[in-house]
């Protein structure tokens, strides 16, 4: 068995206060840094997320997924288990609504079983925020409709930092809001329906990156410019100045009407292929949140090529989820010990 002596290289960030992880938009740069640096340390402590620690033994993590998910759900489960916590699975895609139970009722039922975290995915934006108001345990948003998917945003940013961040980025010597200064990251594709995009852009912006939102006008609102992001409608216009491309999947299941004439036309405009790689920076980083549609947003030669970090993203997913579970748990304990010492 592992022992708690392993915690010594893992300092609890003094600025971390949050009991829930709901979105990245409202996190400050130093808070993002707290999660990311903790994730990096946990990745190292677990030999690349392979070895088990006992930091969270005795605690229980409930996965409450109202939408289908394999990757994210398993990633959260593995993260909890790597830190010694138990997991319990609730699959409720549509069924609880059919029975007339609201999702808050479902969550309260699960909470009453004595869980410490509820990891939730739901098709409607804001459901994790509503849950956080209604139940006592920590809530982690694993995707709320097209709104946010904060751990996906964090794992993408962790991957970028590992490859393009300053060499000693986990050391607090660098101002967190400058960690990605000078780096240009483009989110390409179905921005309208992408929670990955809506988490990435805020996190990247907070850490100083230049963010480009790229896709057809039917999927990229001009209002993004009013909010302060660069907007592009042709990948060819921006590909030569990007340090990172994050290629989003076309979410056919969320589109009620076709926002472009055909997949062939979309691929002609937005697929990252060998020809576009020729024009890109020599050290460009190719990312995709997955599952990828080969031949649509990315061609196989690029997906499997030397610039692709798609599989590293998956491993980093476990690291940031371990960090999130540990930090939220610590914030809860700090809060209760503070209130105890006051009383």
């Amino acid at each position: 068995m592992d022992t708690m002596t392993e915690t010594s290289p893992l300092p609890f960030p003094s600025n971390w206060r949050h009991r829930h992880l709901l979105d990245l938009e409202r996190l400050q740069a130093d808070e993002l840094f707290a999660i990311l640096s903790t994730a990096e340390r946990l990745k190292r402590l677990t030999d690349g997320c392979r070895r088990k620690l006992s930091l969270l033994s005795g605690k229980t993590c409930a996965n409450l997924f109202f939408e289908n998910s394999t990757r994210t759900r398993n990633s959260f489960s593995l993260a909890a288990k790597r830190l010694g916590a138990d997991t319990v699975e609730f699959s409720s895609a549509g069924s609880s609504v059919a029975k007339g139970e609201t999702f808050v009722d479902t969550a309260k039922t699960i909470e009453a079983m004595g869980v410490d975290w509820v990891v939730t995915r739901h098709q409607t934006p804001g459901t994790p925020h509503l849950l956080a108001r209604e139940i006592g345990c920590s809530v982690l948003n694993a995707g709320d409709g097209p709104h946010e998917h904060p751990t996906q945003g964090l794992l993408d940013i962790l991957t970028i930092l590992q490859h393009r961040g300053p060499g000693d980025w986990t050391q607090a010597s660098i101002n967190p809001s400058q960690l990605l200064a000078g780096k240009t990251v483009a989110m390409v594709g179905d921005i309208a329906h992408s929670r990955t995009a809506r988490s990435n852009i805020w996190g990247l912006k907070s850490l100083g990156a230049n963010v480009i939102i790229c896709g057809p006008p039917t999927l990229v609102s001009p209002r993004w410019e009013e909010i302060g992001f660069e907007v592009a409608h042709r990948l060819d216009d921006i590909v030569d100045r990007c340090d990172v491309l994050n290629l989003l999947r076309i979410q056919f299941e969320r589109q009620h009407t076709r926002p472009f004439p055909s997949v062939r036309e979309y691929a002609a405009l937005y697929a990252m292929n060998g020809a576009r790689m020729q024009r890109a920076k020599s050290d460009i980083l190719i990312m995709a949140p997955g599952p990828i549609n080969r031949g649509v947003e990315i061609t196989p030669e690029v997906a499997d090529g030397p610039h692709s970090v798609i599989l590293e993203q998956v491993t980093n997913g476990i690291a940031v989820r371990m960090a999130a579970l540990w930090l939220l748990s610590g914030a809860c304990e700090n809060a209760s010990s503070e209130s105890n010492s006051r009383s």
Partner: protein
């Protein structure tokens, strides 16, 4: 709890209040005598006040014609989990309303004489606010063929509408506007093109974009308003457009009005007192229809009320049960209880900020809606039905929807500090509501 209340036929003297009656250009301190259900005298001498009169001291208070609402959902019959005519009436009286036009979206819908008569009978039994049913415009609210409008009118419907549902059938609306000219009753249209609004949850703007919520675009309303005003012009039918919520709607309504087309328009409080940024909480209390728009629209609508482009402020009361509003933002229905906050919100955000005079506010909340619906109401002229609201304009209070008399406990004004409360509501000469501060109880029924 009891306090000395007037008997139903006892004369009432409201003394020393600021009497505001826009219909007669009255705005001054005075005394109002109510006798036999009617306004009997303005400024009667002590000798002219009957010895057995019940006196209300209205010093520092506003005495206005009771408010008239152009469209509240009372939900009975069939949707009693949301509201009943009794609870809706209590809520209306507490908000200073003496007349309420009720929407046709009950179950069964109000598309038959029997349904109209049922609502009128229940209201009479309740004996509270005056309730005037709006009949369905289309049979079964299906937007396929006209309802039996003449039969509905004969039974007591005071106008026609499928509102709050949109009317997608242009030809039917045109035919109905033509047909209605024979009884000179208004058609109320809540303007929206359903195809452009489908699945929308909130105003289609920057906030919706960031939150990933499907938007209700302003053009969905603008296109429907364009249709409405052109059809009103072409048919010379009586059309009321509302509630409206966009700058585009105001622009078009202003232009056709300047050409002398006799349309009228209304706006709901949520479009005068708050913006779509409130949805950042993801709280379904702010999921209302029309949706809360961006601040630029709010400002334009406030100005349109002040300059007369918009004729009336309507409550937009759409009560929905807590178990329905407790759902996630997509499943939770549009709606909130607004009868008890509309006046105070108007005082707080429009009168105290000098956007509206008291007289213009009362015109929009009482005089004009009564004219639009052709009711014997909205005035304190001698001989008028004694429908009166006495208002304490200064007292601050904090909105707590769980204390509403409405069955619905959802409010987009929740936790806001508002100024002004209704202290007395008189319907047909009967004192039916006295505020907690003044008595501790309601006397309706």
């Amino acid at each position: 709890m009891s306090f000395p209340t007037p008997s139903p036929h006892q004369p009432i003297v409201i003394d020393g209040g600021r009497i505001i009656d826009p219909a007669h250009g009255v705005d001054r301190i005075g005394r109002l005598l109510i006798n036999e259900g009617r306004v009997a005298a303005l400024d009667p001498s002590d000798d002219d006040c009957p010895d057995d009169a019940y006196w209300i001291d209205a010093q520092d208070r506003i005495v206005a014609p009771g408010l008239v609402d152009l469209g509240a959902e009372l939900r009975q019959p069939g949707r009693e989990e949301d509201e009943t005519i009794q609870t809706g009436s209590d809520s209306a009286l507490a908000g200073g309303y003496t007349s309420v036009l009720c929407c046709s979206n009950t179950n069964p819908v109000i598309d038959s004489a029997a349904a109209v008569e049922l609502v009128i009978q229940i209201s009479q039994r309740v004996g509270g606010v005056r309730v005037f049913p709006i009949g369905c415009l289309s049979k079964g609210r299906k937007a396929e063929q006209m309802a039996e409008l003449a039969i509905l009118a004969e039974a007591g419907a005071i106008g026609f509408s499928d509102s709050p549902q949109a009317m997608p059938n242009d030809a039917l609306l045109k035919r109905a506007l033509d047909y209605c000219r024979m009884f000179d009753l208004p058609i109320f249209d809540r303007p929206e093109v359903p195809g452009l609004a489908e699945g929308g949850v909130m105003h289609d703007g920057r906030v919706a974009l960031v939150l990933g919520l499907k938007g209700l675009p302003t053009e969905a309303e603008d296109l429907a308003v364009a249709r409405d005003v052109r059809l009103a012009e072409a048919t010379k039918g009586r059309l009321h457009v509302g509630p409206v919520s966009t700058m585009g709607a105001i622009d078009m309504i202003g232009r056709v009005k300047s050409r002398g087309i006799p349309i009228s328009a209304s706006v709901c409080p949520q479009n005068l007192h708050g913006s779509d940024a409130l949805l950042r909480t993801f709280d379904s209390q702010f999921k209302v229809h029309p949706p809360m728009r961006s601040p630029a629209h709010v400002e334009s609508l406030q100005q349109a009320v002040a300059d007369g482009t918009i004729d009336a402020i309507q409550s937009g009361h759409m009560p929905r049960a807590r178990e329905k509003k407790g759902n996630d933002l997509e499943l939770a229905p549009f709606g909130a209880a607004t009868l008890e906050t509309t006046l105070a919100a108007t005082i707080t955000d429009m009168i105290r900020t000098d956007i509206l005079s008291w007289s213009r506010a009362i015109e929009c909340l009482s005089t004009n809606p009564a004219k639009i619906a052709k009711l014997d109401a909205g005035t304190l002229g001698i001989g008028a039905s004694a429908d009166v609201a006495v208002i304490d304009p200064e007292t601050p209070w904090t909105v707590n929807a769980s204390q509403f008399l409405s069955r619905c406990q959802s409010s987009p004004m929740e936790d806001r500090e508002l100024f002004g409360r209704v202290t007395h509501t008189i319907v047909g000469g009967r004192l039916l509501f006295v505020s907690v501060e003044d008595s501790g109880t309601i006397v309706a029924g």
